[in-house]
C-alpha cells in the first residue's frame, strides 16, 4: 500500500479524470492517458488505477443512467474528490520545488 500517496500511473489517471472535466468514464480516460504518455495503455491498468484511487478516496464513482449507444448499458462515472485534488496539487508543488532547486543549481 502506498497509503495516502500517489504513484506515477495513478497520478496520470487522476489528472486525466480532472482534465476530462470530471464525470468521465474508463474509455476516454484510457484514450487520454495513452495520448499524453505516448505509450500503449491497457484498459485493465486503468481499471486497476481507478480502483486504487477510489480506495484511497481520491476519486468517487457513480453509475450513470443507461446509455442507448452502449447497448443500454450504464457506465461508471468518475469524479476527483477534494482530497484527491489536494494530494495531486501537493505532489505537483513538491516537484516544482525540486525543479526550481535544479534550475537554480544549473544557473550558478
Amino acid at each position: 500500500m502506498k497509503g495516502e500517496r500517489l504513484g506515477e500511473f495513478e497520478e496520470f489517471t487522476l489528472l486525466a479524470v480532472r482534465a476530462l472535466g470530471d464525470d468521465t468514464y474508463a474509455v476516454p480516460i484510457q484514450q487520454y492517458v495513452e495520448k499524453v504518455t505516448g505509450r500503449p495503455i491497457s484498459v485493465g491498468s486503468i481499471y486497476a488505477a481507478l480502483g486504487r484511487l477510489e480506495e484511497k478516496g481520491f476519486v468517487r464513482s457513480a453509475m450513470s443512467e443507461a446509455v442507448a449507444q452502449r447497448g443500454g448499458k450504464s457506465k461508471r462515472l468518475y469524479t476527483v474528490t477534494p482530497s484527491g485534488l489536494k494530494t495531486a496539487r501537493e505532489l505537483h508543488r513538491v516537484r516544482e520545488r525540486i525543479w526550481n532547486a535544479i534550475g537554480e543549481g544549473a544557473r550558478s
Binding site: 474508463a26 484514450q31 491497457s42 484498459v43 485493465g44 481499471y47 486497476a48 488505477a49 457506465k75
Partner: protein, 859 residues
C-alpha cells in the same frame, strides 16, 4: 472470453461495454487489425494489469534466441517439426470431422426447445404423421409452433445443358421451418408461412454448400431458376453456412411443392403423405405443458384403423430434424477423441524426448546462463518459448497437412456429400490450444529433466561426470509412452487389415451381379386408389419389365439386399447377441436370388394373397433351434422377437443362407414372410438381368416411362452396395494403418535421438570399461539392453491397454474380429520391437566402437 475474467457480474457488463467502445474507436482510427490486437491485450490486462506488455517484450528476445539456436541444430529441429506436425495434422483432421459431425451440429438454434413431435398410439410410437394430421396439429397447437418436413432426394440441374447428376438431398418443409429451427439466410430470404401458397414455380432455398459447389457462389443467385426433379424452381435465398437441417440437406422447398417435384401433379400434396413433425416451444411454454396441450389436439384425430387407442403426442428434444441419437454421437465422439488423444500424446512424447536429448547436450549452456544471473524460472521460460516456437511452425505445417487429409478421411468414413468439412473457427481454436499445450508440455519436459541438477558443475570442464538417476526415469517414461501408444495404434490397424480379408472371403450366399433395385421415382399415390390399384399397377409394371429381352426375372420385395435398409430383431446380449433379419417377399424372390429350398416349400399364391401366417427360415436358423429334427410345421421360436400384433408364423420351408446387410455384423438368421397385397405399398421392385445382357437397364427405364410418364427411374446395383459395404473395413484399415505407421516413425525418431545423445554422454564411461577389459560385445549388450528396456516395458503396457480397450470398444467396429486377436497383437509387438532395435543399434554400435585410448587420453 470476458465471462472468464475475475470480475463481478455487475462490473462485467460495464467492462464489456467499455471494451467494445474502445474497440470501435480504435477500429475507426487505426484499422481492424490494430483494434483486434489491442482488444486481446485489454482482455488479458484484466487479469494482470500492465504485465502482458512486459512479457511480450521479453518473449521477443527469447524467440530471437530460439531462432538462432534452431539454425545451429537444423537436424533436431526438422525432426521435431516433422513429428509434431504429423501429429497435429492427424489430430486436426480428426477434430475437423468430429466438429462437423458432432460439435457444430446442423445449426438448430437452441435445439433443446425444438423437439420432435412423436405420434403414439397404444404401444406404437412413430416419427411420422399424415399430412392432414399435421395440418390439424398446427391449427390446434397453442404452446408451440408445429412444423412439418419430408426428407427426400431428386436430381437437380442448375443449367439446361448440365447432365443428370445423382440424387441431391433435400427437405420439403412447412412455411415456418426456418423460423422454428432458427436457420438464417446470407443471401435473399428464408421461407415464410405464405410460401406454402406459392404461385408459379415453387420457391427454393439453397444450402451454403450447394451454392458454393454447384452455383460457384453466384452473387445474383436470387431469382435464378434451377430444375429440381420434374419442375423448375426459383431461388429465393441461400442459408448461412452452418445451417444444414436435416442431415446436411442441400435444398429446401415448400412442403406443398412435393408433387410438383416428383409427379408434376396439380394436387400439391396428398393428404395421406407421411411427414415428420417437430416444433418450437413458445418462449413461456414448458415441454410437458406443450406435450399435454398437443395431445389434447391429437386426441380429436381419427384413430388408427384396427386399434382403439387414441393418438397421443410425445415431445422428444433428442430426436427429429435429422438429429443423431445422443448415444451414437457419444460413441463416435469418444472414438475420435481417443484417437486424437493417443496421437497427440505420441507426438508430445516424441517432441519432449527430442528436446530432452537436445537439453542433455546443452547443460553447459544452461550453466553459463545460470552463472550470468539467469533465474531458474527464466531458463525454463526460454525452454518453453523454444518448444512453443517449434509448435507454431509445426502447427502451420500441420494445418496444411490437415487441409490435404480432411477430404481423404471424409471419404473414408463415408461422410455425406452435403457435409461441410472445411475447418472453421472451432478447428483453428482447437489447433491453437493444442499447439500451445503441446509446446508448453514438451518444453517443460527438458526443464523437469534438468530440475535439481547442479547447473554449475558442467562449467567445471567436461571431465566432471554428473551421474544422476531421476532424469533417466523421465526418459524411460517418454520412451515407454511412445512404445505403448504405437502398439495400441498398430493393433487397431492390424485388426482392420484382418477384418478386410475376412469380409472379402465372406460368402453372402447369392450372386449379386446383375441384381438391381429399381426406384420408380413416382409417388405411390400416383399408382391409383387403394390396395387394388397398387396391386394392379405392380402387376402391369412387372409384366412390362419381364417382357424386356435380357431380363431374367423381376419381383417385389420389402427390403432389397444391401440397399441400406433392414428390419431385424435382436435377442440376447454381448457375445450371445443374436440378430434375426426379417423380410417380406413374393415367391419369385428366392429363385431370383438363387436361394435354394432345402426342405419344405415356398409360399403359394393363396398364402400371399391371404397374408397367411407362414414363414420360411434360413438353414442356420433351422439348425440352431431344431438341431436334430425338421422345423417344418413348427411355430417360430418365442425368443425371436416379432413386431407387435403379428401372429407367430408357422414354418413351411427352409432355404439356404444369405447375408443381405451389415457385413460387419453378419447374421445368417433370416425369416421370410409373404408380401401380401395390402403391404405392396412397401414393396420395392428388383430385377435380375441375364448374364452378358447390355443396355437392359435403359430399356427397363423406357418401358416404365410408358406406363408412368412422370416416373423418375433410378437403379441401384446390389453388387455396388455389397462392394461399398465390403470396402468399409479396408478404408478403416488404411486410415488406422497410416496412423500406425506414423506412430512407428515418430517412435523411431524419438528413440534414435534419445539413445544417440544419452550414449554420447557415456563415451568416457565406455572408454573406461574397455580399458578395464570389457569386450566390445559386452558393451553392445549393455547399451542395447539399457536402451531397449523402456521400449519393452512400453510394449507390455501397450499390449495390456490394447487388451483392455478391446473389452470397452464396441465389438461391431471390428467386423466380427475379437480385439484380443493374438496374431494382431503379436504382429504389432514384433514390428515395433524390430523398429526399436534398428533405432538403437546405430548409435550403440558407434559408442561401442570407441577407441579407449583416445577417450581416456582426452581427459
Amino acid at each position: 472470453m470476458l465471462r472468464l475474467t475475475p470480475l463481478s457480474r455487475e462490473r462485467r457488463a460495464e467492462v464489456h461495454a467499455d471494451v467494445l467502445e474502445l474497440f470501435a474507436v480504435r477500429r475507426r482510427d487505426r484499422g481492424a487489425l490494430h483494434a483486434h490486437w489491442r482488444l486481446y491485450h485489454d482482455v488479458a490486462s484484466l487479469w494482470s494489469p500492465g504485465a502482458p506488455l512486459v512479457v511480450m517484450r521479453d518473449i521477443g528476445g527469447d524467440v530471437r534466441y530460439a531462432a538462432r539456436l534452431f539454425a545451429r541444430q537444423p537436424g533436431i529441429v526438422l525432426m521435431t517439426i516433422a513429428g509434431l506436425s504429423l501429429g497435429l495434422a492427424i489430430a486436426t483432421a480428426a477434430f475437423s470431422i468430429m466438429n462437423a459431425a458432432v460439435l457444430r451440429g446442423e445449426g438448430i438454434v437452441d435445439s433443446e426447445r425444438a423437439p420432435a413431435v412423436l405420434r403414439t398410439s397404444g404401444t406404437m410410437t412413430s416419427t411420422v404423421w399424415r399430412y392432414e394430421e399435421f395440418l390439424h396439429l398446427r391449427e390446434g397447437a397453442t404452446r408451440m409452433q408445429a412444423e412439418a418436413m419430408i426428407r427426400d432426394g431428386a436430381s437437380v440441374r442448375t443449367a439446361p445443358d448440365e447432365s443428370e447428376t445423382p440424387s441431391t438431398a433435400m427437405a420439403f418443409v412447412s412455411g415456418g421451418f426456418f423460423a422454428a429451427t432458427g436457420g438464417r439466410t446470407i443471401v435473399g430470404r428464408a421461407f415464410e408461412p405464405g410460401d406454402e401458397q406459392y404461385a408459379g414455380p415453387p420457391p427454393v432455398v439453397l444450402s451454403f454448400t450447394f451454392w458454393v459447389s454447384r452455383l460457384n457462389q453466384d452473387p445474383s443467385v436470387v431469382g435464378r431458376t434451377i430444375r429440381i426433379g420434374r419442375t423448375d424452381a426459383t431461388v429465393i435465398g441461400v442459408a448461412e453456412r452452418r445451417f444444414a437441417v436435416p442431415n446436411s440437406s442441400m435444398l429446401w422447398l415448400p412442403v406443398t411443392a412435393y408433387n410438383a417435384v416428383y409427379n408434376s401433379n396439380p394436387e400439391r400434396i396428398a393428404p395421406k403423405m407421411s411427414v415428420e413433425v417437430f416444433g418450437r416451444l413458445r418462449p413461456d411454454a414448458g415441454l410437458a405443458e406443450a406435450e399435454a396441450q398437443l395431445s389434447g389436439v391429437a386426441a380429436a384425430l381419427p384413430r388408427t384403423p384396427g386399434t382403439n387407442d387414441a393418438i397421443q403426442v410425445r415431445l422428444d428434444p433428442g430426436t427429429g430434424l435429422g438429429r443423431v441419437a445422443a448415444s451414437t454421437m457419444m460413441s463416435i465422439a469418444a472414438f475420435v477423441v481417443a484417437i486424437i488423444g493417443l496421437v497427440l500424446v505420441l507426438a508430445c512424447a516424441n517432441v519432449a524426448s527430442v528436446l530432452v536429448a537436445a537439453a542433455i547436450g546443452r547443460e553447459r549452456e544452461m550453466g553459463v546462463r545460470a552463472a550470468l544471473g539467469a533465474s531458474r524460472a527464466r531458463i525454463v521460460r526460454q525452454l518453453v518459448t523454444e518448444s512453443v516456437a517449434l509448435g507454431v511452425v509445426a502447427a502451420a505445417v500441420g494445418l496444411l497437412g490437415a487441409y490435404w487429409a480432411i477430404p481423404i478421411v471424409g471419404t473414408m468414413i463415408e461422410a455425406p456429400a452435403g457435409i461441410d468439412l472445411a475447418p472453421d473457427l472451432n478447428v483453428y481454436l482447437f489447433l491453437g490450444i493444442v499447439t500451445l499445450l503441446a509446446g508448453i508440455g514438451a518444453g517443460l519436459a527438458p526443464a523437469w529433466h534438468g530440475r535439481g541438477v547442479d547447473l554449475v558443475s558442467p562449467l567445471k570442464g567436461d571431465g566432471a561426470d554428473t551421474r544422476r538417476t531421476t532424469p533417466r526415469r523421465l526418459r524411460s517414461a517418454l520412451v515407454m509412452t511412445q512404445a505403448a501408444v504405437s502398439v495400441l495404434l498398430i493393433v487397431v490397424a492390424a485388426l482392420f487389415v484382418r477384418a478386410t480379408y475376412r469380409v472379402a472371403s465372406l460368402d453372402v450366399g447369392f450372386d449379386p451381379d446383375g441384381l438391381y433395385e429399381v426406384h420408380i421415382g413416382a409417388s405411390r399415390d400416383a399408382f391409383g386408389a387403394g390396395d387394388a390399384g397398387i396391386a394392379a399397377q405392380w402387376t402391369r409394371i412387372i409384366a412390362e419389365v419381364e417382357s424386356v429381352p435380357g431380363i431374367a426375372s423381376a419381383t417385389l420385395v420389402e427390403i432389397p439386399p444391401f440397399g441400406g435398409g433392414m428390419k431385424r430383431s435382436s435377442s440376447g446380449d454381448g457375445p450371445n447377441r443374436q440378430l434375426t433379419y426379417f423380410n417380406r417377399t413374393r415367391a419369385e424372390y428366392f429363385r431370383m436370388m438363387g436361394v435354394r429350398v432345402v426342405a419344405g416349400r415356398i409360399f403359394t399364391r393363396e398364402e400371399i394373397a391371404e397374408k397367411a401366417p407362414v414363414a420360411l427360415i434360413s438353414e442356420t436358423l433351422a439348425r440352431r433351434y431344431w438341431p436334430d429334427r425338421s422345423p417344418l410345421g413348427e411355430l417360430l421360436p418365442a425368443n425371436i422377437p416379432l413386431p407387435p400384433l403379428h401372429p407367430r408364423p408357422q414354418i413351411i420351408g427352409v432355404v439356404t443362407d444369405t447375408i443381405t446387410a451389415q457385413l460387419h455384423e453378419p447374421s445368417r438368421f433370416a425369416v421370410y414372410q409373404p408380401l401380401d397385397p395390402a403391404s405392396e405399398i412397401f414393396g420395392n421392385l428388383m430385377i435380375r438381368t441375364a448374364p452378358g445382357a447390355i443396355g437392359v437397364v435403359q430399356q427397363v427405364a423406357q418401358r416404365l416411362r410408358t406406363i408412368e410418364p412422370r416416373a423418375n427411374v433410378r437403379f441401384t446395383s446390389v453388387a455396388d452396395g455389397l462392394r461399398q459395404e465390403a470396402g468399409r473395413p479396408r478404408m478403416l484399415a488404411t486410415l488406422s494403418g497410416v496412423i500406425g505407421i506414423i506412430a512407428i516413425v515418430l517412435c523411431v525418431i524419438g528413440l534414435y535421438g534419445l539413445t544417440a545423445s544419452v550414449i554420447g554422454q557415456r563415451t568416457r564411461e565406455m572408454g573406461v570399461r574397455l580399458a578395464l577389459g570389457a569386450s566390445r560385445g559386452d558393451l553392445l549388450r549393455l547399451l542395447m539392453w539399457q536402451s531397449l528396456r523402456p521400449v519393452v516395458a512400453g510394449l507390455g503396457a501397450g499390449a495390456g491397454a490394447a487388451l483392455l480397450a478391446g473389452r470397452a470398444v464396441v465389438a461391431t467396429m471390428f467386423f466380427g474380429m475379437s480385439p484380443q486377436d493374438p496374431l494382431a497383437l503379436a504382429g504389432a509387438i514384433v514390428v515395433l520391437l524390430v523398429a526399436a532395435m534398428l533405432a538403437v543399434v546405430v548409435p550403440t554400435r558407434r559408442a561401442a566402437s570407441v577407441d579407449a585410448a583416445a577417450v581416456l587420453h582426452r581427459s
